[in-house]
Symmetry: C2
Subunit: 107 residues, 2 copies
């Protein structure tokens, strides 16, 4: 199975979340897995791609701005965001993007 999300034809939305963590894990992995699973159950969710080394990049794909907003305001997600700022992240950036065009390659 491919790790690349099978998104529908554009337009749709992408949220690019890039972050640098503190050295101490302190429950981060469990919360991160939980948030990945929970996001997949939200209305308007289209896919998620995530990689972490020193820098972490998680891109999630959404039907529209409304579904992004709802997920941002989800109770469990708000708790995770607060914990993230208090315990896990040195810094992060969130970019809300309209995907205008896409193309791919498969061997």
């Amino acid at each position: 199975m491919s790790l690349i999300s099978k998104t529908p034809a554009p337009p749709y939305y992408a949220v690019i979340f890039t972050s640098e963590k503190m050295a101490d894990d302190n429950g981060y992995s469990e919360m991160s897995d939980h948030m990945m699973n929970l996001s997949e159950q939200q209305d308007g969710f289209l896919g998620i791609e995530s990689v972490r080394e020193e820098l972490g990049i998680t891109v999630s794909y959404w039907r529209d701005l409304e579904s992004i907003k709802k997920w941002k305001m989800h109770t469990d997600h708000i708790q995770a965001q607060q914990k993230g700022r208090a315990n896990w992240y040195k810094n992060y950036k969130v970019r809300i993007c309209l995907v205008e065009r896409d193309y791919g390659f498969e061997k």
Copy 2:
């Protein structure tokens, strides 16, 4: 120094490149480093963020569609794309996005 790109205020463009590689490296790392460095020298380049595990995610940021198009058609880059399809990638996806909004956090 932060690994997160210091991009200007939106709107600007993001190119999300997600890929899965073959097992064999076969010159990939050198080419990848060369392309990262070369992209930074292009007109309209705003930043790049890249992480690779099994999945690779590289997000590059650009002033406008014109600068993305020019970089796509750069001679060295075209050669790298051809080598990529022939030798390195199992599959990939490119998404061209308009960044409408961004916000961040720094400790």
